[in-house]
């Protein structure tokens, strides 16, 4: 097991390094003088010169890369071309907002999706299954941002129950924070609940038709133990894998959701940065996203191994 975790960590570090090379080259691939790119189009010549000096942009690429890596690891992510604030400071401000949104949405998705998936599989072909399957298809087919617009149209414009947009930090006004996060959380969570529901249902159906479930029934175990212990335990590995695979979509979904509900999070930062060609910020958000993605996938792999005795005991890799 230790060996397995170490190997996975090693692989993650390699992927991160490759990712950083790609990001580094991506910025250099932009047309024009990278110092000008990083300083912003309206920057003073002095600032451009300072940035060229700071990043050693006149030196060979490998030297530049090592310097970039050194700066990044020491927390220096450059300065935003919009307001000259350190990118690290901006991230520190924006990331918690997005973390709250995605964590709450995940909570909704896992609770609703896994439960609905189990119920649908157990009640296959009956009313509950049709309701859950319909919900799954709808969730898969309706884009987040349209659902968000509809939610605003209904709850904010027509019914005037909830504020349409804005953000208050939880520490300042917990009730106001949750009030404003409710719609975005549900909108983001429901789409993933649908995906999770479909995968859970599918995994449960195949588990329920597995030989070991027949064995469990032949022991005279009550249905709740057959489903809740024998079938569920083996479906969990699928659910965990899907959670990992859906992470990229969750990040994309958060970006869109923040845009609709005007939440000043990481996603809105990303979109604004692209639209204003704020390259230091783009570079940083891509790096953060990739890092988050790799780290969470690593965690998923480890949880997967814990759930699967075959991997836990042998240290063999899966997939």
């Amino acid at each position: 097991m230790t060996w397995f975790i170490l190997r996975r960590c090693g692989a993650a570090v390699i992927v991160l390094l490759l990712g950083s090379v790609l990001i580094f080259l991506g910025v250099r691939a932009l047309p024009g003088d990278p110092a000008l790119v990083m300083a912003g189009e309206d920057a003073s010549p002095a600032l451009v010169a300072a940035i060229r000096e700071e990043y050693g942009l006149d030196r060979p690429l490998p030297v530049q890369y090592v310097e970039y890596l050194r700066q990044t690891l020491s927390g220096n992510l450059g300065r935003s071309t919009q307001d000259q604030l350190p990118v690290a400071t901006i991230l520190a401000e924006r990331l918690p907002v997005t973390l709250e949104l995605t964590a709450l949405a995940m909570l909704v998705a896992v609770t609703v999706g896994v439960l609905a998936g189990i119920v649908a599989a157990v009640r296959r072909g009956r009313a509950a299954d049709y309701v859950a399957t319909g919900f799954g298809l709808a969730g898969l087919s309706i884009p987040h941002f349209w659902l968000g617009l509809l939610a605003i149209l209904l709850f904010s414009v027509t019914l005037r129950w909830l504020p349409a947009s804005g953000y208050v930090p939880f520490t300042e006004d917990p009730v106001g924070n949750l009030q404003r996060m409710l719609l975005p959380t549900l909108v983001l969570g429901m789409g993933f609940a649908a995906v999770l529901m479909r995968q859970t249902r599918s995994a449960m159906l195949s588990a329920l038709s597995a030989d070991y479930v027949r064995t469990a029934r032949s022991k005279g175990l009550p249905e709740r133990a057959v489903v809740g212990v024998h079938a569920l335990r083996n479906s969990l590995t699928t659910v965990v894998t899907v959670l990992g695979l859906q992470l990229g979509a969750l990040i994309s979904g958060a970006v869109v959701t923040e845009q609709i509900f005007v939440i000043p999070g990481f996603g809105k930062l990303t979109v604004d940065a692209v639209l204003t060609r704020n390259y230091p910020v783009i570079q940083a958000v891509v790096l953060v996203t990739v890092t988050a993605y790799v780290v969470i996938n690593l965690l998923v792999d480890i949880v997967y191994a814990f759930l699967n005795p075959r991997i836990r005991l042998s240290g063999a890799s899966h997939g």
């Binding site: 030989d211 029934r217 022991k219 005795p309």
Partner: protein, 330 residues
């Protein structure tokens, strides 16, 4: 009254391609301590017949009529909660696939203890101790270590022994073993059969052995029912059956089998050889002899009506208008 009485059992399944007739009007009985073999090609209905007893067929698509009585108690209409008291306790099953029939996510010990805690109300510790004893009983070395292991750490033969340990944990009245040796190496087969024999001798368990291996039948069974296309074709004590087969299908099975293999027992294992022709579609059930198309002694009357089981000896039944003359050797 026998320990188990199956009367006029008919089982069908609703599938997308139509209604499948799996078992038709099968009647058989099982005495205490008896080992009864159900034999036939795959799809002949032997597994469905046996799995009807603990009601392990998919409930929503299965159409079942007839009567199944255990000690006089009707099982087909027993409410599900009571049926769960029967499963694993009075009737238990050893499945065909030792590789997939154990849950890969739980230790062997947990899976044995589970059935004990369910039916015998044993504490966690007591169930674990009993699980070790059971593993010893089925001949697994170092049982105290083995109960902590997961199925994938055991060989196929070991897993099948674990399955048997689970099945016999609560000393069932009836044990159903579905092709218990098919997936195993020849050398391991003999050992598994010995475990069954030992159980019968020690606990008086009655065993329904589903197999298509006549070698196994000859080796261990007291009585055999030969099934063809969902119906019983012939039924007789094993010695009588091998000495004087009546149904052309039984005869065909045996002719395709070197005599030595029958005598050699499980070591000389032979699969039922193919008889030319196709098994009729299970989607239709015409009123004729289902074996007619493949039968060497078939005549016109075989198409006019379906032969029913007729008594040819004290315990010897066959469903054929033109049975082999007595004394004809296979």
């Amino acid at each position: 009254m026998s320990l188990l009485d199956i009367t006029d059992l008919t089982v069908g399944f609703d599938t997308e391609d139509g209604h499948v007739h799996a078992v038709k009007e099968v009647s058989l009985s099982l005495e205490e301590g008896e080992i009864l073999a159900l034999c036939g090609e795959s799809g002949c209905g032997k597994t469905v017949t046996a799995m009807s007893v603990p009601r392990l067929l998919p409930p929503r698509t299965t159409r079942l009529t007839g009567s199944i009585r255990l000690d006089g108690r009707e099982l087909t209409t027993l409410p599900e909660p009571q049926m769960r008291q029967v499963r694993g306790k009075e009737v238990s099953v050893v499945f065909q696939e030792p590789m997939t029939s154990l849950n890969p996510s739980f230790t062997v010990g947990f899976q044995i203890a589970e059935v004990l805690r369910r039916h015998e109300n044993l504490s966690r510790g007591a169930a674990r101790r009993r699980a070790v004893e059971l593993l010893e009983l089925v001949g697994i070395p170092a049982p105290a270590q083995r109960i902590k292991e997961y199925p994938h750490q055991l060989s196929g033969g070991m897993r099948q022994r674990v399955m048997i340990a689970i099945a016999v944990a609560c000393s069932p009245r009836v044990l159903i073993a579905d092709e218990p040796t098919t997936a195993l190496d020849v050398t391991i087969q003999a050992g598994v059969l010995d475990v069954f024999r030992d159980l019968r001798d020690r606990l008086g368990t009655a065993i329904i052995l589903i197999t298509h291996d006549l070698g196994v039948v000859a080796d261990i069974a007291d009585r055999a029912v030969i099934m063809y296309a969902g119906r019983a074709a012939e039924q007789a004590p094993v010695e009588e059956l091998f000495a004087r087969p009546l149904h052309p299908y039984t005869l065909g099975l045996m002719k395709a089998l070197p005599a030595a293999a029958v005598a050699a027992g499980p070591g000389g294992r032979r699969r039922l050889a193919e008889i030319p022709g196709m098994v009729p579609s299970p989607l239709a059930d015409p009123a004729e002899c289902a074996f007619h198309a493949r039968c060497p002694s078939g005549q016109d009357d075989c198409l006019a009506a379906r032969p029913s089981l007729v008594r040819h000896g004290p315990a010897h039944l066959a469903a054929c208008f033109h049975p082999a003359r007595s004394g004809e050797q296979p």
